[in-house]
């Protein structure tokens, strides 16, 4: 064995990674080579000194206790739980967002739309004065009549449903309405009206 090989073996020996037969070879080399033996002894003593410093006195962390570390942590556990749920249920989150946006836009639509709106057949025969929609006596409206944001005064006939949204109605004794009379002035029932209306309209087509 040459000294170069012995050097690499002695490190493996210190790492406890040398096979028994190799150890024997190394020891044989030490017996004939005092330089390598001395080198190995120095390495061994270096290692002992290094391990020795591990147990050496070291002051504890000054004014630095667990509580301080805990106090420095960010408080965000609650938010994390919420985020976790969102991450785990993307479909529900998207659906909820969609309905929220729909709901808000429908509500704002209901709130903003303050203009008088009349829907139905024979509109030219109706009398409109300001926000008053009058079905004059003797007139027969052939179909559904819808009045939004106004007052409906009926003296004649309506051959269908009369719906008043966000307004009032005044039915004279001569009035005749063959269908249902509906008055809507709450957001929820208006929404319900919109939805049922949408479905009935779709099913008619």
């Amino acid at each position: 064995m040459d000294c170069k090989h012995a050097h690499s073996l002695m490190h493996d020996y210190l790492d406890n990674e040398l096979a028994p037969d190799q150890i024997l070879l190394l020891k044989e080399h030490f017996a004939i080579c005092p330089t390598c033996k001395e080198h190995y002894d120095q390495l061994e003593r270096t290692e002992l000194m290094l391990f020795g410093t591990k147990t050496q006195h070291l002051e504890p962390i000054s004014g630095f206790v667990t509580a301080n570390i805990m106090a420095s942590l960010p408080k965000k556990a609650k938010q994390r739980v919420w985020l976790q749920w969102v991450k785990n249920h993307p479909a529900i989150t998207v659906a909820a967002m969609f309905f929220m946006v729909m709901f808000i836009s429908a509500l704002s639509f209901w709130n903003q739309d303050r203009d008088l709106m009349v829907k139905g057949p024979d509109l030219d025969k109706l009398i409109i004065e300001g926000d008053k929609v009058i079905v004059p006596k003797g007139l027969s409206v052939a179909g559904d009549l819808t009045v939004q944001n106004g007052q409906a005064e009926v003296y004649g006939e309506v051959n269908g449903n009369l719906t008043v949204i966000d307004g009032s109605m005044n039915l004279a004794s001569t009035a005749h309405i063959s269908g249902q009379v509906t008055k809507i002035d709450e957001a929820m029932s208006w929404l319900w009206y919109r939805i049922t209306h949408l479905f009935s309209e779709v099913s008619y087509r």
Binding site: L43, M49, L50, H57, M70, L73
Partner: protein
Amino acid sequence: METRLALLARKGDQRAFAEIVELYKDKIFHLAYRMLNNRHEAEDVVQDTFLRVYKNLDRYDENQKFSTWIYRIGTNLCIDRLRKRKPTYSLDAEMNDQEGVDGYSILPSDDRTPESELLLSETQQLIRQAIESLPAKYKTVMVLRYLQDLSLQEISDVLDMPVTTIKTRVHRGREYLRKKLERKL
């Protein structure tokens, strides 16, 4: 056990995290103190390590040893600091104007108090200085090997390097320290 604590802490259990801090604060402090040789910076590293552990609990892989994970975070923070601190000139280069004065003699000295200085024997101070003078990549493995008592395999896990590389570095570090401490041996 640490793995279970980590999983509890992940669910938001503050007491479990406090337990982790209690178990590791001294180990991380000693690691950082040996690496940086500065008490103040070592305390900063301890603080940063636990902050990072806390923030990344979600990313902790429970198949991995918790100690390996926390040592990796602590070691990386130390290496980052050493890198930032490292001057542009080499420590071994002699200064032009002063004969025989090299970079080691102008390194910022540690903020140890005189009392604690007395408690350290001359030999131990020599060893400290010798470790301090090691280049960062050797210093890391030597501190983990001898002062934290990690096995070569554990060091390889912490540093995410092959065991053969760790072995080479331990061997070279050992030779380097042997030369530095020659007079004392």
